[in-house]
């Protein structure tokens, strides 16, 4: 690698972009958007996502997309018929959103980290002082109890119906035929009313046979995590877009344009080696995207620039996108093909992520860099980095390495075509 050649190649790239007024305008627009996000922030200029805005529950994707119903079979005599009833009566519109999971009794009280848009209901049946108990814990997104409304409506109604049917069957077995247990009323999400409905059912059943209906204890809590904060989400999108635009769009299209025009050949015939030409592009585009991304993040929340997690995430994303961009640049022969390749990649990955998210398809999303990247950057921009985000960062690093290796391998095989 000769410094004067690398310098000439990098300066050439800089001059090419300086001559591109549209690109400069786009960069300025991104920065302007970050400035507006910061200036019109209720938490104050440069504060980024605050606790106040987070508590407002302004999730980018509102509501709860998935609800896990965790249960233990500690008291299987009670739990099994209750669970069977609940599983049979999930409404069709919630069928693909509700997932039943068996959980070990020791883990039922442990904290679990949930992604935004995911909530849970935990049901634990046990016997205490000779009486059956049913504990139901509802975990909703923080500051957004209403997000669980469709799930709770179903749960409270069907749990009451289920317990009533179980009690009636037991009374039938005791040859009691004239029991008049209270009918299930309209859905009510008022927790006091719900508790009262269960208590009323238990009292009436106890009149015939004590212990027919368990004592139902209900808690409703906010999840320990944070919702997807809108401002941080937009800032994350701007940062990701800056890197994507630079590395996955500009790099392959301009590279293919040089190839189509024959300018790449002219450079290849000069003393610059293919490795030096490649290195100059490797140096320029991630730095361009990274600088723009850092400016956007810095304008939005200056404090983020002093965190290791943000820079580690930024470098990882830049490296990963560089690998993807170089892969497209090596495969595409023309500028149009490169443009289409970049767009097709974006759309296909988005589609896969949406399909996996809405249908609860596990693991596949983890193979996409774009699954981990927003989580890493959003966590750093909203200042809520958990251990799970470090795992996302590690996964993103692995995927970035994969794309870089793929790009290098393809380049060695196909060269500049």
């Amino acid at each position: 690698m000769r410094f004067y050649i690398l310098r000439a190649l990098v300066v050439k790239e800089l001059h090419r972009h300086a001559a591109n007024r549209g690109g400069i305008a786009l960069g300025l627009l991104l920065i302007a958007a970050a400035v507006m996000l910061s200036v019109f922030n209720p938490a104050g200029f440069g504060r980024g996502g605050s606790a106040a805005t987070e508590a407002a529950g302004t999730g980018m994707v509102g509501g709860v997309q998935h609800c896990f119903v965790y249960y233990t079979r500690e008291d299987s005599e009670l739990m099994t018929p209750v669970l069977n009833h609940l599983e049979k009566t999930v409404p069709p519109d919630l069928a693909h959103r509700v997932r039943f999971r068996n959980m070990h009794p020791d883990r039922i009280k442990e904290g679990v980290y949930y992604q935004p848009g995911v909530a849970s209901i935990r049901i634990n049946a046990y016997t205490q002082d000779g009486r059956p108990h049913l504990r139901v814990d509802v975990f909703h997104p923080p500051g957004d109890t209403a997000a669980m409304a469709p799930y709770e409506t179903w749960l409270w109604r069907e749990l009451r119906v289920g317990l009533q049917e179980i009690a009636e069957q037991k009374l039938k077995a005791l040859k009691v035929t004239n029991a008049d247990l209270p009918r299930v009323g309209t859905a009510d999400d008022d927790l006091w009313a719900v508790r009262e409905a269960f208590a009323s059912l238990r009292r009436d059943a106890d009149g015939w046979q004590p212990g027919l209906v368990p004592e139902v204890e209900i808690t409703r809590e906010g999840l320990g995590g944070q919702t997807l904060e809108l401002r941080s989400a937009i800032a994350t999108a701007l940062v990701v877009f800056a890197l994507y635009f630079s590395c996955v769009y500009l790099l392959p299209t301009l590279n293919c344009e040089e190839r189509e025009r024959g300018v790449l050949l002219a450079q290849a015939l000069s003393p610059a080696s293919p490795a030096e030409i490649l290195m100059a592009k490797f140096l320029f585009y991630p730095v361009l995207g990274g600088t723009l991304a850092a400016i956007i993040a810095g304008v939005y929340k200056p404090a983020v620039l002093s965190t290791l997690f943000f820079w580690a995430g930024l470098f990882t994303v830049a490296a990963g996108f560089l690998g993807i961009g170089m892969t497209i640049a090596t495969l595409a022969k023309t500028q149009r093909a490169a443009f289409m390749g970049a767009m097709c990649y974006l759309l296909s990955v988005s589609l896969v992520l949406v399909i996996c998210s809405t249908n609860g398809i596990p693991f596949v999303s983890n193979l996409a860099l774009e699954y981990h990247v927003p989580r890493v950057l959003h966590a750093s921009l909203s200042g809520s980095v958990h251990s799970v985000h470090w795992l996302h960062l590690l996964a993103a690093m692995g995927l970035a390495a994969f794309w870089l290796v793929t790009a290098g391998w393809l380049f060695r095989r196909r060269g500049w075509q």
């Binding site: 004067y4 050649i5 310098r7 000439a8 190649l9 300066v11 050439k12 001059h15 090419r16 001559a19 591109n20 025009r261 024959g262 300018v263 050949l265 002219a266 450079q267 290849a268 015939l269 000069s270 003393p271 610059a272 080696s273």
Partner: protein, 295 residues
Amino acid sequence: MVFRRIVFYNCFMLDPAISIRGLTVRYGSFTAVDSLTLDIRKGELFGLLGPNGAGKSTTIRVLIGQRRPTGGSVSVLGHDVVREWAKIKPLFGYVPDRENHFEEFTGNRNLEFFAELYGVPRLRVRECLEMVELEEAGNTLVRGYSLGMRRKLLLARALLHQPRVLYLDEPTANLDVHSAEVVHRILRERVSQGGTVVLTTHDMDEVEKICDRVGIVCKGKLVALDSPLALKQQHTERITDAILATGERQAFDMDRESERHTLAELVRDGRTASLQTREFDFHATFLKLTGQAFE
């Protein structure tokens, strides 16, 4: 004196600038260049001619290291083009048939970029622009250049590092007469300074005017190799066209005794209205040698 000339000639031939030995290039089942053997001397302006698909461009692509030969070997200034491409690159300049500039840069900036890659001082950029008479357009964006200006800028770029070998593909295409003259002068100067120039062209006048030697390739094979003058001597048709007093047109081959005699009788008897001897026609010679329509 004769001895000195032989020694001088042998020195050139023992150490040619470009040595092509049994070069074969295949694209699948199509053979573009078929066992081509050719030596191009140092300080020579060599013209490569041939119809479409003859293998000229493929040969040039092999010479600049952009196509690996299927068979044979090619060396430039003693270096193998495949194994020692990195060593050869700074030694040659290349003017492609299709202009390839950075449109968004000025002519000046285009040359400055390549000057930096070649490690050439910026002063040389000005010299090269002056050489091709583009000094006034140096600060104009290339997208505002005419086709001729773009071609001259290509030549200026190829001359930046004063290469020892210069390859040119159609160097005077789209150039006006004056600009073509400028290019010819520059090429002759390069040769007089010891440089070697290889050009492909369709302009027969250009070949006759500036080339020291000409190689005619057809279907990947070399069908003729000599100086334009020697080719002229070998292939001039010694034919006289006569228009008789009756208005009839007749051609007489001067190499045949009987036809010479017949023409002499016609002239003596005053039965000819006009006589015209045919000039050497490079185009016709080319057609005769290649047996194909000219591109």
